[in-house]
Symmetry: C3
Subunit: 203 residues, 3 copies
Amino acid sequence: MLTLIEFLAVISGAIFGVLLARRKQMDFVGVFAVAFITSFGGGTVRDVLLDRHPLFWITHSHYAVVVFVVSGIASLLPQIPRRIEPMLNVPDALGLALFSVVGTEYALQSDVAPFVAVLFGVITGTFGGVMGDIVCNEVPNLFRPGTPLYATCAFVGGWVLIGTQAAGFPPDTSRWISAAVVVVFRLSALRYNLCLRPIGSPE
Amino acid sequence: MLTLIEFLAVISGAIFGVLLARRKQMDFVGVFAVAFITSFGGGTVRDVLLDRHPLFWITHSHYAVVVFVVSGIASLLPQIPRRIEPMLNVPDALGLALFSVVGTEYALQSDVAPFVAVLFGVITGTFGGVMGDIVCNEVPNLFRPGTPLYATCAFVGGWVLIGTQAAGFPPDTSRWISAAVVVVFRLSALRYNLCLRPIGSPE
Amino acid sequence: MLTLIEFLAVISGAIFGVLLARRKQMDFVGVFAVAFITSFGGGTVRDVLLDRHPLFWITHSHYAVVVFVVSGIASLLPQIPRRIEPMLNVPDALGLALFSVVGTEYALQSDVAPFVAVLFGVITGTFGGVMGDIVCNEVPNLFRPGTPLYATCAFVGGWVLIGTQAAGFPPDTSRWISAAVVVVFRLSALRYNLCLRPIGSPE
C-alpha cells in the first residue's frame, strides 16, 4: 500500500517536472533533470540534512529508471493535454501526505525536536517542487500568494502526527489520521481555492 | 556572550530574509522559508560539506522557533519602515564576525588546510544571504559590484585568526582580535562605501 | 597522467566560471565564487550524495588555491579574448571524460545500481556548470536545446564503462575506452553541432 502510494507520488512528481521543463522548451537532458529534481529533491535534502545514507533513490534504484521512462514518453509526445494537471491532484496529494508523514517520522527517529521534525516533513513534501522552480529560473511557486495551500497542509499534518502520538494512539493509526488530514486539507484547498494572502509590497 | 551574539545574528538574518521575501510579495510560507534559508543556510552548507552532524539548528532547535516567530510578527505588519535596515548593520556585522571565526575554527578542527578553512569561514558568514537571493531569483547581492565589502571582511578575519594562532596568541585572544577586525572592517566598509570594482562587461 | 588531466579540468572549469561571471559584471568575490562552484560543484554534489568525506577539494587543498589564482589573473585582465573559449574545448572534454568515468566508478564502489551509477558520472561531469548558471540566474545551458551534446556524452561513456567491465576487460582498459568515447563523442558534437531537439512549447 505504502509502496503503491510512493510509486504514484514519484510518477506524479516526475510528470510535474516534465510539464515545468516543457514550458521552458528544454531538451531531453533538461526534461529528465528537472523531473529527477522534482521527484527526488525533497527526500534528498531531508536525507542529506539528517545524514541518512544511502539516499532512498540509491537504495530503490528502480525509481530513477521510472523517472527516466516517464521523461522519455513525455518527450515523445508532441503535446501534453492540459487536462492532465487536474488528474494529478489526487496522486500528488497522496504523495504530499506520505512524504510529510514519513519525513516527520524519520526526523523524530533522529531525535529532532517536534517543531523541527514538522519542518522536515514539510521539506520532504515540498522541496522537490521548490528546487525544480529554482532550476527553471522561477521564484518558487510554493512561496507565492494566489496558489492553494500546500506547505501548510504538510505542516498541519506533521503536528497531527505528533499530537496523536503524544495522545497515545497506536503508531499506525496516528500515521493514517495525519495522512488523511493532509489529503483532505490539500484537496479542500484546491477545491475552494484556499490561499495565503501576499505580504509586503514591490519596491 | 557568544550565545547572545549568535541569537542576535539569527534574528538579524531572519529580518533580512523577511525584507527580501516581502519585496517579492511572497506569502507566509515564502517569508518563513526565505528567513530560514537566510539565517541557517551558511552554517548548514558548512556542516554538510564538513560532515558535522547533527546540524546546529537541529541541536539548537529553538532557533527555528525564533525564526518562525520573527517571520510571523513581520508578516502581520502592514509595512516595515526602511530605517530598520541600517539598525541591522551592527548585529549583522557581529554575526558575520562570529560565523566567520567559528566557521574557520570548525574547519581547522576537521584538519582542513588554512586557505580552505578561511573559505569555510566566508561560506558560513555569507552563504545564507547568497542562497536567499538565489531562491528569490536574484543574482546574489554579494557577487555584485557597488555593494560594500562583506565576504572580503570575513576572508581577512579568517587569515587574522590563523595568523594570530600561528603567532602563539592564546586561543581566546586570537578569536577576539579576528572578530574585532571583521566588525571594524565591515562597519568601515559601510561607512565609507568601500566596494570592489566590477569586472568584465555585458555581452 | 590522471593528475594532469584533473589539473587541466579544474583550470578549464575555473576559466568557464570566470567568463560566466564577467558576463554578469560581478566583482572579484563573485568571479571567484562562480569559478569555485563551476570547478568543484559536480564533484561536491557527488561526494555529498554518496557520503564520501572529506570532499576532494578539502583533501587536495591546492585546487582551491589554483582557482583563486586563475580568478585573480582573469580579474586583472581588462578583456578576455573570445578565442579563448574554443581553446578550452579539448581540456574541457578531457575533464568531462575524467569526471564522468571517475564519478561512475565511485558510485559503483558504493554499491549503487548501474543506471544510478551512470547518473552519478553525469552529475560529476556536468553539475558544476549547472550550478554556476543557477547562481548567475540563468536557466542552465545544459538543459537548453541548441547547445551541442554534453551530458549525453557522459551518459554514453558511463554505459561503455559498465559494459566493458561486464565484458571482462581489465579495469584500466575499460577506463581508457570509456574516457576515449566521451572525448571523441563530445568533440564530434562540437564539430558537427549535434544537439537534442527542443521539447514542448512556451506558454
